[in-house]
Symmetry: C2
Subunit: 151 residues, 2 copies
Protein backbone atom coordinates (compact mmCIF):
# COMPACT_ATOMS: atom_id res chain seq x y z
CA UNK A 1 0.00 0.00 0.00
CA UNK A 2 1.27 3.42 -0.97
CA UNK A 3 -0.47 6.62 -0.22
CA UNK A 4 -0.79 8.71 -3.34
CA UNK A 5 0.75 12.14 -3.13
CA UNK A 6 -1.68 13.40 -5.76
CA UNK A 7 -3.72 15.52 -3.36
CA UNK A 8 -1.03 16.10 -0.74
CA UNK A 9 -1.47 19.47 0.92
CA UNK A 10 2.27 20.09 0.99
CA UNK A 11 2.19 20.14 -2.79
CA UNK A 12 -0.78 22.43 -2.84
CA UNK A 13 0.75 24.81 -0.33
CA UNK A 14 3.94 25.01 -2.37
CA UNK A 15 2.04 25.49 -5.59
CA UNK A 16 0.87 28.69 -3.96
CA UNK A 17 3.93 29.83 -2.08
CA UNK A 18 6.90 28.53 -3.97
CA UNK A 19 8.71 26.28 -6.37
CA UNK A 20 7.72 22.72 -5.77
CA UNK A 21 10.36 20.17 -6.54
CA UNK A 22 13.01 20.52 -3.89
CA UNK A 23 10.74 20.21 -0.88
CA UNK A 24 8.68 17.55 -2.60
CA UNK A 25 11.85 15.50 -3.07
CA UNK A 26 12.56 15.93 0.65
CA UNK A 27 8.97 14.95 1.44
CA UNK A 28 9.40 11.73 -0.56
CA UNK A 29 12.69 11.08 1.21
CA UNK A 30 10.87 11.32 4.55
CA UNK A 31 8.44 8.77 3.16
CA UNK A 32 11.29 6.33 2.54
CA UNK A 33 12.01 6.95 -1.13
CA UNK A 34 15.73 6.61 -1.88
CA UNK A 35 16.17 5.76 -5.55
CA UNK A 36 16.20 7.98 -8.61
CA UNK A 37 13.52 6.01 -10.47
CA UNK A 38 11.27 6.00 -7.42
CA UNK A 39 11.55 9.78 -7.00
CA UNK A 40 10.84 10.11 -10.71
CA UNK A 41 7.82 7.85 -10.64
CA UNK A 42 6.34 9.25 -7.46
CA UNK A 43 6.74 12.87 -8.47
CA UNK A 44 6.29 12.64 -12.24
CA UNK A 45 9.29 14.93 -12.63
CA UNK A 46 11.47 14.95 -15.74
CA UNK A 47 14.76 13.09 -15.29
CA UNK A 48 16.99 16.02 -16.12
CA UNK A 49 15.17 18.29 -13.69
CA UNK A 50 15.19 15.64 -10.95
CA UNK A 51 18.89 15.12 -11.53
CA UNK A 52 19.57 18.83 -11.15
CA UNK A 53 17.47 19.11 -7.99
CA UNK A 54 19.14 16.06 -6.41
CA UNK A 55 22.58 17.52 -7.18
CA UNK A 56 21.56 20.76 -5.50
CA UNK A 57 20.20 18.98 -2.44
CA UNK A 58 23.37 16.88 -2.16
CA UNK A 59 25.56 19.98 -2.54
CA UNK A 60 23.51 21.69 0.14
CA UNK A 61 24.01 18.77 2.50
CA UNK A 62 20.30 17.91 2.66
CA UNK A 63 20.73 14.52 0.96
CA UNK A 64 23.76 12.25 0.69
CA UNK A 65 24.58 9.66 -1.93
CA UNK A 66 24.90 6.07 -0.70
CA UNK A 67 26.09 3.40 -3.17
CA UNK A 68 24.02 0.27 -3.68
CA UNK A 69 24.09 -2.64 -6.10
CA UNK A 70 21.18 -4.94 -6.91
CA UNK A 71 22.12 -8.57 -7.74
CA UNK A 72 23.22 -8.58 -11.38
CA UNK A 73 22.79 -4.83 -11.62
CA UNK A 74 25.11 -1.84 -11.93
CA UNK A 75 26.45 -0.05 -8.95
CA UNK A 76 24.32 3.06 -8.41
CA UNK A 77 23.70 5.74 -5.81
CA UNK A 78 20.63 6.15 -3.73
CA UNK A 79 19.74 9.26 -1.76
CA UNK A 80 19.43 9.48 1.97
CA UNK A 81 18.40 12.38 4.18
CA UNK A 82 21.22 13.81 6.27
CA UNK A 83 20.62 15.27 9.71
CA UNK A 84 20.37 18.64 7.99
CA UNK A 85 17.71 17.21 5.70
CA UNK A 86 15.82 15.58 8.56
CA UNK A 87 15.73 18.95 10.27
CA UNK A 88 13.47 20.16 7.46
CA UNK A 89 10.64 18.15 9.02
CA UNK A 90 9.10 21.18 10.78
CA UNK A 91 9.13 23.11 7.48
CA UNK A 92 7.23 20.34 5.73
CA UNK A 93 4.86 19.83 8.65
CA UNK A 94 4.15 23.57 8.80
CA UNK A 95 3.37 23.57 5.06
CA UNK A 96 1.24 20.46 5.52
CA UNK A 97 -0.69 22.03 8.40
CA UNK A 98 -1.35 25.19 6.41
CA UNK A 99 -2.33 23.26 3.30
CA UNK A 100 -4.57 21.00 5.36
CA UNK A 101 -6.34 23.99 6.83
CA UNK A 102 -6.98 25.77 3.54
CA UNK A 103 -6.45 23.47 0.59
CA UNK A 104 -7.36 19.91 1.56
CA UNK A 105 -9.99 17.87 -0.27
CA UNK A 106 -13.49 17.97 1.27
CA UNK A 107 -12.79 14.47 2.61
CA UNK A 108 -9.97 15.85 4.75
CA UNK A 109 -6.18 15.62 4.89
CA UNK A 110 -4.48 12.92 2.84
CA UNK A 111 -1.71 12.54 5.40
CA UNK A 112 -1.79 12.62 9.16
CA UNK A 113 1.64 12.79 10.79
CA UNK A 114 1.70 10.78 14.01
CA UNK A 115 4.01 10.42 16.97
CA UNK A 116 5.85 7.12 16.53
CA UNK A 117 5.58 6.29 20.21
CA UNK A 118 1.94 7.07 21.06
CA UNK A 119 0.39 7.30 17.57
CA UNK A 120 -1.30 10.64 18.29
CA UNK A 121 -1.34 13.32 15.55
CA UNK A 122 1.65 15.67 15.44
CA UNK A 123 1.31 19.41 15.01
CA UNK A 124 3.59 22.39 14.66
CA UNK A 125 3.34 24.88 17.49
CA UNK A 126 4.96 28.26 18.17
CA UNK A 127 6.22 28.74 21.70
CA UNK A 128 8.55 31.13 23.46
CA UNK A 129 11.48 30.10 25.59
CA UNK A 130 9.63 31.38 28.66
CA UNK A 131 7.14 28.56 28.04
CA UNK A 132 4.17 30.50 26.69
CA UNK A 133 2.38 28.37 24.11
CA UNK A 134 0.81 27.92 21.69
CA UNK A 135 1.45 31.41 20.32
CA UNK A 136 -0.70 32.90 17.58
CA UNK A 137 0.91 34.37 14.46
CA UNK A 138 0.27 37.92 15.61
CA UNK A 139 1.96 37.35 18.99
CA UNK A 140 5.37 37.33 17.32
CA UNK A 141 7.56 40.28 16.36
CA UNK A 142 10.80 40.30 14.40
CA UNK A 143 13.81 41.78 16.18
CA UNK A 144 17.39 42.15 14.96
CA UNK A 145 19.74 39.33 15.92
CA UNK A 146 23.52 39.41 16.36
CA UNK A 147 24.04 38.95 12.61
CA UNK A 148 21.63 41.69 11.60
CA UNK A 149 22.75 44.10 8.91
CA UNK A 150 21.09 47.42 9.53
CA UNK A 151 20.22 49.61 6.56
CA UNK B 1 16.08 51.76 11.45
CA UNK B 2 15.37 48.94 9.02
CA UNK B 3 16.92 45.51 9.28
CA UNK B 4 18.41 44.45 5.97
CA UNK B 5 17.09 41.21 4.59
CA UNK B 6 20.36 40.64 2.75
CA UNK B 7 21.50 37.79 4.97
CA UNK B 8 18.11 36.62 6.19
CA UNK B 9 18.11 32.88 6.76
CA UNK B 10 14.62 32.49 5.36
CA UNK B 11 15.98 33.59 2.01
CA UNK B 12 18.89 31.22 2.27
CA UNK B 13 16.71 28.29 3.22
CA UNK B 14 14.47 28.91 0.24
CA UNK B 15 17.40 29.35 -2.10
CA UNK B 16 18.08 25.72 -1.24
CA UNK B 17 14.61 24.30 -0.96
CA UNK B 18 12.38 26.29 -3.27
CA UNK B 19 11.43 29.22 -5.37
CA UNK B 20 12.03 32.35 -3.41
CA UNK B 21 9.73 35.18 -4.19
CA UNK B 22 6.33 34.19 -2.90
CA UNK B 23 7.39 33.41 0.65
CA UNK B 24 9.77 36.36 0.67
CA UNK B 25 6.88 38.64 -0.22
CA UNK B 26 4.94 37.13 2.68
CA UNK B 27 7.95 37.61 4.95
CA UNK B 28 8.07 41.29 4.04
CA UNK B 29 4.33 41.57 4.63
CA UNK B 30 4.88 40.20 8.17
CA UNK B 31 7.49 42.92 8.55
CA UNK B 32 4.91 45.58 7.77
CA UNK B 33 5.55 46.15 4.07
CA UNK B 34 2.33 46.91 2.23
CA UNK B 35 3.13 48.89 -0.90
CA UNK B 36 4.32 47.74 -4.30
CA UNK B 37 7.35 50.02 -4.39
CA UNK B 38 8.39 48.96 -0.91
CA UNK B 39 8.22 45.27 -1.81
CA UNK B 40 10.19 46.05 -4.95
CA UNK B 41 12.86 48.02 -3.11
CA UNK B 42 13.21 45.60 -0.21
CA UNK B 43 13.40 42.51 -2.38
CA UNK B 44 15.13 43.87 -5.48
CA UNK B 45 12.61 41.98 -7.60
CA UNK B 46 11.65 43.05 -11.12
CA UNK B 47 8.32 44.88 -11.28
CA UNK B 48 6.67 42.47 -13.72
CA UNK B 49 7.65 39.45 -11.62
CA UNK B 50 6.51 41.12 -8.39
CA UNK B 51 3.24 42.03 -10.04
CA UNK B 52 2.67 38.42 -11.09
CA UNK B 53 3.54 37.07 -7.65
CA UNK B 54 1.26 39.56 -5.89
CA UNK B 55 -1.60 38.61 -8.21
CA UNK B 56 -1.06 34.96 -7.38
CA UNK B 57 -0.94 35.62 -3.64
CA UNK B 58 -4.12 37.70 -3.86
CA UNK B 59 -5.87 35.01 -5.91
CA UNK B 60 -4.79 32.43 -3.35
CA UNK B 61 -6.23 34.50 -0.54
CA UNK B 62 -2.88 35.09 1.16
CA UNK B 63 -2.88 38.84 0.56
CA UNK B 64 -5.74 41.24 -0.04
CA UNK B 65 -5.75 44.57 -1.83
CA UNK B 66 -6.67 47.62 0.22
CA UNK B 67 -7.09 50.98 -1.56
CA UNK B 68 -5.12 53.98 -0.34
CA UNK B 69 -4.48 57.48 -1.61
CA UNK B 70 -1.62 59.74 -0.61
CA UNK B 71 -2.37 63.50 -0.56
CA UNK B 72 -2.12 64.70 -4.14
CA UNK B 73 -1.45 61.18 -5.37
CA UNK B 74 -3.34 58.58 -7.35
CA UNK B 75 -5.58 56.06 -5.71
CA UNK B 76 -3.62 52.80 -5.46
CA UNK B 77 -3.82 49.43 -3.78
CA UNK B 78 -1.63 48.21 -0.99
CA UNK B 79 -1.32 44.61 0.12
CA UNK B 80 -2.30 43.23 3.47
CA UNK B 81 -1.96 39.74 4.87
CA UNK B 82 -5.24 37.90 5.30
CA UNK B 83 -5.79 35.40 8.11
CA UNK B 84 -4.75 32.73 5.63
CA UNK B 85 -1.56 34.64 4.98
CA UNK B 86 -0.88 35.21 8.66
CA UNK B 87 -1.21 31.46 9.17
CA UNK B 88 1.97 31.06 7.11
CA UNK B 89 3.94 32.33 10.10
CA UNK B 90 4.95 28.82 11.25
CA UNK B 91 6.19 28.01 7.74
CA UNK B 92 8.41 31.09 7.71
CA UNK B 93 9.58 30.51 11.28
CA UNK B 94 10.40 26.88 10.50
CA UNK B 95 12.43 28.00 7.48
CA UNK B 96 14.08 30.67 9.59
CA UNK B 97 14.97 28.18 12.32
CA UNK B 98 16.46 25.75 9.81
CA UNK B 99 18.36 28.50 8.00
CA UNK B 100 19.62 29.87 11.30
CA UNK B 101 20.94 26.46 12.31
CA UNK B 102 22.77 25.74 9.06
CA UNK B 103 23.18 28.86 6.97
CA UNK B 104 23.50 31.89 9.25
CA UNK B 105 26.47 34.26 9.19
CA UNK B 106 29.21 33.49 11.73
CA UNK B 107 27.91 36.42 13.77
CA UNK B 108 24.59 34.63 14.22
CA UNK B 109 20.99 35.06 13.11
CA UNK B 110 19.96 38.34 11.54
CA UNK B 111 16.46 38.07 12.94
CA UNK B 112 15.23 36.83 16.28
CA UNK B 113 11.47 36.35 16.47
CA UNK B 114 10.17 37.27 19.92
CA UNK B 115 6.96 36.85 21.84
CA UNK B 116 5.21 40.20 21.83
CA UNK B 117 4.13 39.85 25.45
CA UNK B 118 7.27 38.64 27.22
CA UNK B 119 9.96 39.41 24.62
CA UNK B 120 11.48 35.91 24.82
CA UNK B 121 12.61 34.20 21.57
CA UNK B 122 10.00 32.19 19.72
CA UNK B 123 10.66 28.75 18.29
CA UNK B 124 8.82 26.16 16.25
CA UNK B 125 8.22 22.90 18.07
CA UNK B 126 6.66 19.59 17.05
CA UNK B 127 4.29 18.09 19.58
CA UNK B 128 1.62 15.43 19.59
CA UNK B 129 -1.93 15.92 20.76
CA UNK B 130 -1.19 13.66 23.73
CA UNK B 131 1.18 16.37 24.91
CA UNK B 132 4.56 14.79 24.17
CA UNK B 133 7.01 17.54 23.17
CA UNK B 134 9.29 18.60 21.73
CA UNK B 135 9.37 15.75 19.22
CA UNK B 136 12.43 15.06 17.08
CA UNK B 137 12.11 14.71 13.31
CA UNK B 138 12.50 10.93 13.47
CA UNK B 139 9.71 10.54 16.03
CA UNK B 140 7.10 11.26 13.36
CA UNK B 141 5.56 8.89 10.84
CA UNK B 142 3.19 9.65 7.96
CA UNK B 143 -0.14 7.87 8.04
CA UNK B 144 -3.06 8.10 5.62
CA UNK B 145 -5.75 10.62 6.52
CA UNK B 146 -9.44 10.63 5.56
CA UNK B 147 -8.65 12.23 2.21
CA UNK B 148 -5.88 9.80 1.31
CA UNK B 149 -5.87 8.40 -2.19
CA UNK B 150 -4.33 4.96 -2.09
CA UNK B 151 -2.35 3.76 -5.05
Amino acid sequence: MRISSENCSVGRALAVVGERWSLLIVREAFDGVRRFQDFRNRLGIASNLLSTRLDTLVSAGVLERVPYQDPGGRRRDEYQLTERGADLRPVLLALLQWGDKYLADPAGPSIIPRHLTCDEPVRVVLECTAGHRPLTADAVRRTPGPGALIS
